[in-house]
């Protein structure tokens, strides 16, 4: 959590899109930006890139106001997936409230996915995030491409872990909002436990998701 100020009625949250290089993190935010209604979201801020590869991060701010007047700002970040930007990944990961791991569904990317996932686990530990308590959603992206690992192989592996899996094609635009709703939902559950969004701020789960990610 970036900020929670009761007296100012302000809550600032952080979602981080993590994953190996070129898995489609930036594309996810681009699509999300296009899919969400203009009111309630800011512009996508793309920090300096090099040949379209993220070297700092991308940022999409989303806004909603709870019935209690609590202003909730949710900042969605992407990290640079390239191995050498590990420090930046760590910096961005700090105080994340939810993480979307964007994996490349193609078979040949399995190894990169795994390495990036271990990197995520390690960095979470380094910045003090509890892996078991931080909301996490796994997105298998690029489902439009041939040579991808079929769902029948993905489910048996991931379902037992309790980590929700979303399938998407960020390029074609499907699965992106679904992924976002799932992470937002998990974040709501975690937040509701901590700061009673429903009871104290009159913000139910459906309302939260509806305002944040209306279809």
């Amino acid at each position: 959590m970036i900020e929670y100020d009761e007296s100012e009625k302000r809550l600032v949250l952080k979602i981080v899109y993590y994953g190996p290089a070129l898995s489609g993190k930036t594309t996810n935010l681009l699509r999300l930006h296009d899919l969400l209604p203009k009111e309630g979201r800011g512009d996508l801020m793309v920090l300096d890139t090099k040949n379209d590869r993220t070297i700092f991060f991308d940022l999409l701010p989303l806004l909603l106001v709870a019935p209690s007047g609590l202003k909730i700002k949710l900042k969605a970040f992407t990290v640079p997936g390239q191995v050498q930007h590990d420090q930046t990944r760590k910096a961005v990961l700090q105080r994340a409230d939810g993480i979307v791991f964007v994996a490349d569904s193609r078979r040949e990317e399995a190894r990169n996915n795994l390495e990036s996932f271990s990197n995520l686990e390690r960095n979470m530990a380094l910045v003090g995030l509890d892996f078991d308590r931080t909301p996490l959603v796994l997105q298998f992206n690029k489902r439009d491409l041939p040579g991808i690992v079929p769902e029948s192989e993905i489910r048996p592996v991931w379902d037992p872990t309790g980590i929700p899996v979303a399938l998407a094609s960020a390029k074609e635009g499907w699965g992106v909002l679904e992924t976002f709703r799932r992470i937002a939902g998990r974040m709501y559950d975690a937040l509701d436990r901590r700061i009673s969004l429903r009871d104290r701020h009159g913000l139910g789960r459906e309302a939260f998701l509806g305002r944040l990610a209306a279809r």
Partner: protein, 434 residues
Amino acid sequence: MIDFVVGEERALAEILSAGEVAPLLEAVADAGASSVRVEDGWKRTLWAAAESGAAEPQRNAGEISFPVFLEGEEVGRVVAAGKEGESAAVSRAASIAARAVTGMAASALKRMLTTETHVQVVRRTHGELLESFRRLEASERSYRELTETLEAKVRERTEELKEAMSRLLQKETMASIGQLAAGVAHEINNPMGFVASNISTLGRYVQRLVEVDAALEKLLEKGAMPPEDAENLRSLRGRLRIDAICRDIPDLILQTMEGAERVRRIVSDLRGFSHVNEGEIQEVDIGGEIERTLRVIANEIPPGTAVERDLGKVPPCRCRPGLVGVALLHLLRNAFQTRREGLAVRIRARAEGRSAVIEVEDNGPGIPREIRSDIFKPFFTTKEVGVGKGLGLSVAYDAARTLGGAIEAVCPEEGGAVFRLTLPLKGDGHAEIR
């Protein structure tokens, strides 16, 4: 050092400076605004156009305002009041200014985030470099320590090997000495057997001759011989000092027999030494063993040496007698070599708990502090070349250890040295012979 969390909230005033905003506000004023300012979310004036003055501008009915956004959120407004008849132009200008401020804020924020992230990355990288440097240093240190301990280990091992070698050498020496001694003992024993038995026979024979002589003397006194013959005989006896000889003979025989007996004992002692590592475990009388050893090295005791014994009641030790002899021999020899003149050696034996304690004390120069830890090491010697091989004390030490005992050296303040040999009375604790 800047420390921040990526995504931390920034206020408009942190992001933009008056200098950046001023030209925009001036443009609005030029378009005919009587006042123009930028307010934050709480309607506090952040910046105002120059001619609006420092004073809080009047809020009047003719004011128009346009939102300024940051990260999609309205964070302030550009507020302007038009002069009479110029409101349309002012409104247009203010609207443009608001969008321009929003754009400037966005790019300024981007710049800031880039810089801050960069700084943080550099700082972390630097920190991690320092950390890995520290780790490298630590591992280098542990390598160095490892090397040092390895060296010490090698030294220790070399020392052990040297000791083992010297023990081997010693064993070999002892074995060949033993063989030699056994051979010599055998060679001496046979003739000595003749010598001893012949002497006693000779003694008996001579006794008979003495008796004959005595009978002859009686005849002389009776005058049973012609006087001339008697006179000749008398002068012959006188010249040959037969009377004196007859008085001397028993002593001579006795002394010769004693000498022969001593030779026999020395030879059998020698034989005892030749089998140090062999032989049955038996009840060894410590006092007797000390006496025997003293006899063996009697010729090494400097003339005029005072040897004092205090061999209290020590129960017999169950062990191999040869080894006890070896330990005592070297301790005693060491004591007898500490000085040539005025030497006094005290030998004490007593029982202490389950041990026999034998102390050999000399009034020699003592052991310098710096070599005390070395004296039981093989080849360590303080004696001049040729006097000792430097094996003695190490052999004694070894023998004591093999017997399950120990030797320690004590150096009293007043000088001299005391070597204390401790042996278990029940020698079941015999260390394995190496």
